[in-house]
Amino acid sequence: MDWTAYLPMLWQGAVVTMTITLAAIAVGIVFAFVFGVMRVEGGPILSTVALCYTEVFRGTSLFVQLFWFYYALPLVGLSFDPVTTGILVLAAHAGGYGSEIVRGALSSVSVQQLEAARALNFSRLQTLFRISLPQAVVEMMPAFGNLAIETLKLSSLVSLISIADLTFSAQSIRNITLDSASIYSVTLLCYFAMSLLLMVGVRLIERFVRRGNAFPRAAHS
């Protein structure tokens, strides 16, 4: 099987995939928190804006979003390079789902906590940052873990907008060697390995979050 000569190309593609995924997760978390908090704490206008963002990016296919931002948007003047476009769209998509996770977790903070905060004269911002979010973050971790894996899988779609990720490299190699079975098997195994790595990473973060003093266990009363 002389496809082993192409392993360097696959490795490069894997690096691109991992980079894009991690970048998209990072930016997506920012989007998730911003829009999740906006939805819960914002006034009627901000809340509606957040709702629209969530509905649009959750309710349309990532495939369509990628093509729209890559081919349609430049025609009205707004154009980024492929990798940036890929990361931003992935992040926006993940953020759409993430904002719902944040919203759900924030809403699940027990009312007594909020009342106690008000009794202690905490401002809304203080309540949010010192009481609600720390407890909510613990709740969010499992769902964010799933979202991370989903983002890794969805990152394969950026190969369709000419980004040289793992799937793109696999396709290129397959086009040269015409050996579909081995190339696609290896690619699937690569993604599987990356998913497992990601899961381990998420578990570690989860443990750190549960242990730290800043994030007390959620008080269920």
């Binding site: 192409y6 081919y71 003047g77 492929p82 000419s162 290129s172 086009n175 015409l178």
Partner: protein, 283 residues
């Protein structure tokens, strides 16, 4: 309503203004010392090699011509054939070197260079040509036959012109998918003669149809003329490229490049005989 219309139009004018102010000039290209090109990975017209360098009729000629213009570095992007023109218009690259056929339809969207190569059509079929196909019209005769075409390529127009029905046509995303598709899903793959001969090389399961008759469209056998595509607003760049290209066409190096990829003396002469203005007008 009025205000929104005015605001909208001014925004559009501003955007268009910004966009056209960014027309790429030769000096700008020389200053940044590189130019961005696109290929659709179609051997032998324009493709990337595993080591990352470009090769093919288009890239080799483009590299030589640009060198004579003082531009040494070309950054290549691989993009599906159907997205070459949209990508060009979206500013993702500065020219397309995929030897696309210069058609009146495409001329409305992009500014082509003078023709660089000329080629006829071809069919890729299973080994042994079980359906005994010799031309596109044979596919039209049997409605149960299926033929594959790359999405965005104009071979589909020729197929339709000789009577092939839409239900018979399967669109594949890239040229390289042709071999597995012909092996198990369709009866033939319609593309240019060179593309097909390259695909069929050293393949045990597929072969090029020979002898093959070019489809007759508008009472004449089809002949394609491949060229380089630029954005309409980059006229200065295109004209500078054209001047250099026409000069380069007179050299032996040019003939050597085209000959290396399988183009015959006649097709090289045929390309030189046409000019882009005529082709865009449909002559």
């Amino acid at each position: 309503m009025h205000i929104t219309k005015i605001a909208g139009l001014s925004a559009l004018a501003l955007v268009v203004g910004i966009a056209s102010a960014n027309a790429l000039t030769v000096d700008e290209v020389k200053q940044q010392a590189y130019i961005r090109a696109a290929t659709a990975n179609e051997v032998p017209y324009s493709y990337m090699q595993p080591d990352g360098t470009s090769a093919g009729i288009g890239p080799d000629v483009a590299t030589a011509v640009l060198k004579s213009m003082g531009v040494e570095e070309i950054n290549w992007t691989v993009t599906p054939f159907g997205t070459l023109i949209p990508g060009l218009k979206a500013g993702r690259f500065d020219f397309a070197a995929a030897e696309q056929n210069i058609s009146p339809e495409r001329c409305k969207q992009v500014a082509f260079s003078e023709p660089n190569s000329s080629y006829g059509e071809g069919l890729l079929v299973k080994k042994g040509n079980p359906k005994k196909l010799t031309t596109y019209a044979d596919i039209a005769k049997d409605p149960s036959l299926k033929v594959a075409v790359v999405s965005g390529a104009n071979n589909v127009d020729f197929l339709r012109a000789v009577g092939v029905k839409d239900e018979q046509i399967v669109f594949i995303p890239a040229n390289a998918d042709a071999i597995p598709t012909v092996q198990s899903r369709v009866d033939a793959y319609a593309a240019t003669e060179l593309t097909v001969s390259e695909l069929a090389k050293d393949q045990a399961n597929v072969e090029q149809v020979a002898p093959f008759t070019d489809p007759i469209v508008n009472d004449a056998p089809v002949r394609n003329y491949g060229g380089f595509a630029f954005r309409p607003e980059d006229k200065e760049l295109r004209d500078a490229f054209n001047t250099a290209l026409v000069e380069f066409r007179k050299t032996d190096e040019y003939k050597a490049i085209l000959g290396k990829y399988g183009l015959s003396e006649q097709s090289i002469a045929a390309a030189a005989a046409k000019n882009v203005a005529d082709l865009c007008a449909g002559k």
